[in-house]
């Protein structure tokens, strides 16, 4: 048997020593990585392990002037299953399928899925969520969450607007006052495994969310509700495209109601209402006919739907402009009186038309009004007379009054996307343009601009900023901020305003606005019937602006009926709407009928 030699032992020793040396060097390497670079790697590892999970802040409510919540939050549940913790798959699946109304097969598939957590259904009502929790099945998770909820569905939809899934305002007051309403979301820093599942037993870094503040708006639920019914009624009766009713306090600009029919359901803002649905269908069919039976591809269809939705969400009263027509004569008259180019005793003889340069502009009464006083020209809404008053005012002064009444700028209302008017350039205004402007044609403004201007004419000449927001309240309902929408600008003198009120009262008492008359209330107002462009299309806009009581206006209201069928005169169809609204809301506002008159 061969024996081991001395050099063998020496070499074994050398190899052992070499091995041990290398291992000690590796310990040195470990020391370097684990101690010297400890902070560096710990930081990187922590960044990898920690996840930030946002905690939604409760969004502030929107309440009406009597504290009725118009936008609030409800608790909804998300039901999920954790596969590993489920004891009886079939039983769990059948319970969830019956409670949530999803097919048993679908639920079972999710229950059997070997994922860490599987979401079964979101936006489950709290009562159902509670019931599922009461079963006490292990592995079934019910998480609560908040969801924006609008208790009155379509009420003031165009004003209030809605929020997106991330609690962010998308349109309307929800977006305008977003910074007050959103609050500040908190977050939790949690340690997770590689799949992102949170680990228990690690200290969480928690930052509590701050709930949003409550917004109190000037809308009055009851007035809004009544006006909405009135608007729908006239829209249906006249088969109109849409109807706008605005009720406002002419002194401070607080808006009590703003209806733009058709409204939409705020709780389902992405579902087209029946009006738009039928319109879209008719449009796609006509489209496919014109494009030579080409199949409308899906993108085109979704585009149309998005366009339709945008259209549906539009608040016409401030987002769209129109030719105001005869209601604008209030401004012409006020300007002419203020400048003293006419006096109340001035007369005008109407022959049924006026000739301006080479154009003959006709009066709506083709036989002519004959000789009439200034007041009567307003009562009769006589176009040739107003061409004369406008001519006396002159381009420069007229332009100046556009500025003074805020028709060249936005009203500053607290809603997003306000349109500004479309007006001639000053140097382009010739005699014909001046003539048409005088009775409210050839330029466009928003209904809100007109109402704002009209308010200052009857409130003593104070410029107002129409608005909804009144106060910002904290969680406990305490006012923390008053929203200020005042301006000290003056439009016309008090004397002119008084004269205008008197004249406009006469319009309702004895003139074209007599359909707005209510026994016992002293109502002033002005009607308008404007033909839509292109002229001769047979499409009209009927409108009426009214205020009450005429000598100290407390309430001002406007009704615009877009494209009514049949009779289209503002005095005939729009004035009665405001009469009806006044008749019902004035007693509600505490304004009793004056039986003396």
């Amino acid at each position: 048997m061969e024996k081991e030699k001395t050099y063998n032992r020496k070499k074994i020793f050398i190899f052992s020593l070499a091995t041990i040396t290398v291992l000690i060097l590796l310990i040195a390497r470990l020391f370097y990585v684990m101690i010297i670079e400890h902070d560096y790697y710990t930081k990187l590892a922590t960044e990898l392990h920690e996840r930030e999970r946002a905690i939604k802040a409760l969004r502030g409510e929107i309440i009406d002037r009597n504290n009725i919540p118009l936008a609030t939050n409800i608790t909804v549940c998300t039901v999920s299953v954790i596969h590993n913790q489920i004891t009886d798959e079939e039983q769990t699946a059948s319970m969830l399928s019956s409670e949530l109304g999803i097919s048993y097969e679908d639920v079972l598939k999710k229950v059997k899925k070997k994922s860490s957590i599987e979401r079964i259904k979101t936006n489950v009502e709290k009562t159902i969520g509670d019931r599922i929790r009461e079963y006490g099945y292990s592995g079934v998770k019910v998480d609560e969450d908040y969801k924006r909820y609008y208790p009155y569905d379509e009420l003031a939809s165009k004003v209030i607007g809605f929020t997106g899934s991330d609690n962010q305002g998308i349109v309307g007051l929800e977006v305008y006052y977003d910074e007050y309403l959103t609050g500040k979301s908190g977050n939790i820093l949690t340690v997770t495994d590689a799949k992102g599942i949170e680990l228990e037993g690690y200290r969480e870094n928690r930052e509590e969310p701050i709930a949003g503040n409550t917004l109190k708006i000037s809308i009055d639920y009851n007035i809004q509700r009544y006006c909405e019914q009135a608007a729908y009624k006239v829209m249906t009766e006249k088969n109109a495209k849409n109807v706008i009713i605005i009720v406002m306090n002419p002194v401070n600009g607080e808006i009590y109601a703003m209806v733009n029919t058709p409204e939409y359901n705020l709780n389902q803002p992405f579902e087209l209402t029946s009006e738009y649905l039928s319109e879209m269908q008719s449009e796609t069919t006509s489209e496919s006919e014109t494009i030579d039976q080409n199949k409308t591809d899906e993108t085109a269809e979704t585009m149309t739907k998005q366009d339709m939705l945008n259209q549906m969400w539009r608040c016409m009263a401030i987002n769209d402009t129109y030719e105001p027509g005869s209601t604008f004569k209030m401004i012409t008259a006020a300007g002419a009186l203020e400048d003293g180019v006419v006096s109340i005793t001035d007369t005008f003889t109407c022959g049924g038309y006026a000739t301006v340069e080479d154009r003959r502009i006709r009066c709506h009464k083709t036989t002519g009004h004959g000789t009439e006083t200034f007041t009567e020209t307003v009562m009769n809404s006589c176009n040739p007379a107003f061409i004369e008053w406008g001519r006396r005012l002159g381009t420069d002064r007229f332009y100046e009054y556009f500025k003074i009444f805020g028709l060249m700028e936005k009203t500053g209302i607290d809603l997003p996307g306000e349109a500004s008017g479309i007006m001639h350039k000053k140097e382009n205004i010739g005699a014909v343009e001046l003539a048409t402007i005088s009775f409210g044609q050839s330029f466009q403004i928003t209904p809100m601009q007109l109402l704002g201007a009209a308010a200052s004419i009857v409130n003593g000449g104070h410029k107002i900023i129409p608005h909804f927001g009144i106060d910002i309240l904290n969680e406990d309902g305490k006012v923390i901020q008053n929203l200020n929408y005042t301006t000290d600008k003056q439009t016309i003198s008090k004397e002119t305003s008084d004269t205008m009120k008197e004249i406009l009262w006469q319009v309702v008492e004895n003139g074209g606005g007599n359909k707005a008359y209510i026994e016992g209330y002293e109502i002033g107002g002005k009607t308008a019937t404007s033909q839509k462009l292109p002229r001769g299309s047979g499409k009209y806009i009927a409108s009426f602006v009214g205020f009450v009581p005429y000598n100290d206006p407390k309430v001002m209201a406007m009704c615009i009926i877009n494209e009514p069928q049949g009779v289209y005169y503002g005095g005939t169809i729009a004035a009665p709407v405001i009469q009806n609204v006044f008749d019902n809301i004035l007693p509600y506002l505490g304004m009793e009928k004056n039986n003396n008159s």
Binding site: E4, F15, L30, L199
Partner: protein, 404 residues
């Protein structure tokens, strides 16, 4: 110091043994290396604890049983300990004759991987067997190579001093190693088998110069090659166009350049090790094992030991291996004959190479290559065949005799 003393005493005892014939044989006591047994059992026990800590998350998510890997590894460990016990009673001399046949059989098992018996897992075809019972032929080759090389060294006897004898044995080692790379694409095992052969011949060959020359030459080639790689490739631009092995070299230089894909595993291991600190996060508290390090229970288990037990725990583990190497050295130096000594050297080099390479890989000291940590990493074949090797060593130790 201790070593010298012991050596002297054994030498004395042997010289006396010669003089005083068979009568005194009965008075000498048999030796058994209980220290080695304790170290091995401790390593296996510690390994199972760490394996459970490391694998329970993966076991739960993949097999729905947090003890899945633990159960399998415990079963194989018990089986291995039993086999170790049996082998420790079989005189190691019996393995000398059939060692060539074992070697050929082991090579056949490697090629069996190509037959339907072969099993693929993790994109590599490295196992044979059926269903859940599978063996990694590489482990068989390691044992067979140790036995064959040891018996060849004995067969050459005095002729071992000729360089051609060493070259011959080297070629045998090469024959054992290369199929592992070519057939099973397992470069690590290939390196280990060849490394074992080289170290065994180093011990057997009287001179040093061929090895000094060889190591220098390899070092020079590696340095030049790496220099070439790092000048031709942009280490910040590692993508699919770069060949796999070269990619690993580039990642080694700069793991953070591709932290999301190729450098991911290396970097994750560094995160685990680096976040350990002196005493670690505590047993069971690793976060990196929760899916961040893929299959942490395999080759990367040492990084989890570092994360949970800190530098302290890591040094303890390394010390256990140093003690084991030390015991191997004492047994080898006192072995009754050259064959026994060479078997122990073979086992020692096997363990040493794997421990060093594994720790070097997880600390990104060398480029990444899949090498398991002996007795601790998950792997049935590995633990069983390592314990067979320990059984051989224990039998060598059993035949050491002292005079009373």
């Amino acid at each position: 110091m201790e070593l010298r003393k012991k050596r002297r005493t054994t030498q004395v005892s042997k010289s006396e043994e010669k003089d005083t014939a068979p009568v005194k044989r009965r008075e000498i006591t048999k030796y058994f290396d209980y220290s080695l047994v304790v170290i091995v059992i401790f390593l296996i026990g510690f390994g199972l604890v760490m394996l459970y800590s490391t694998s329970s998350y993966n076991a739960l998510s993949e097999h729905n049983d947090s003890c899945y890997f633990l159960k399998r590894q415990a079963t194989f460990s018990v089986l291995g300990l039993f086999v170790m016990f049996v082998v420790s009673f079989i005189p190691y001399q019996v393995w000398r004759r059939p060692s060539a046949i074992f070697f050929i059989i082991s090579l056949i098992t490697v090629f069996l991987v190509l037959t339907p018996l072969g099993i693929s897992s993790h994109n590599a075809r490295r196992w044979i067997g059926h269903g859940s019972i599978r063996i990694q032929p590489a482990e068989i080759v390691k044992v067979a190579t140790i036995l064959l090389v040891a018996s060849l060294i004995c067969k050459f006897g005095r002729r071992i001093k000729y360089i051609k004898s060493i070259l011959f044995i080297g070629i045998i080692g090469f024959i054992g190693a290369v199929p592992l790379y070519i057939v099973t694409d397992n470069l690590s095992s290939c390196i280990i088998v060849f490394g074992i052969t080289v170290i065994m011949t180093f011990v057997a060959y009287p001179k040093y110069w061929p090895y000094i020359l060889g190591v220098s030459a390899v070092a020079a080639v590696v340095i030049i090659y790496l220099y070439h790689l790092f000048t031709t490739y942009d280490i910040n631009q590692i993508d699919d166009t770069v060949p796999f092995r070269i990619r690993r070299m580039l990642i080694w230089k700069n793991p953070e350049s591709s932290s999301d894909n190729y450098g991911y595993q290396t970097l994750q291991a560094l995160y685990a090790i680096g976040s350990g600190g002196f005493f670690g996060k505590g047993l069971g508290n690793s976060i990196q094992k929760l899916g961040f390090i893929p299959e942490a229970q395999n080759d990367m288990i040492f990084s989890i030991i570092c994360e949970e037990l800190g530098l302290f725990g890591a040094i303890c583990v390394i010390l256990l291996f140093i003690m084991m190497i030390w015991r191997f050295m004492i047994i080898a130096n006192n072995a009754p004959d050259l064959f026994g000594a060479m078997i122990v050297v073979g086992v020692m080099s096997h363990v040493a190479i794997q421990v060093i390479l594994n720790i070097a890989v997880v600390t990104n000291t060398i480029p990444n290559t899949g090498i398991s940590l002996p007795f601790i990493s998950y792997g049935g074949s590995s633990v069983v065949f390592l314990l067979i090797e320990i059984g051989l060593v224990l039998n060598v130790s059993r035949q050491i005799s002292f005079e009373k």
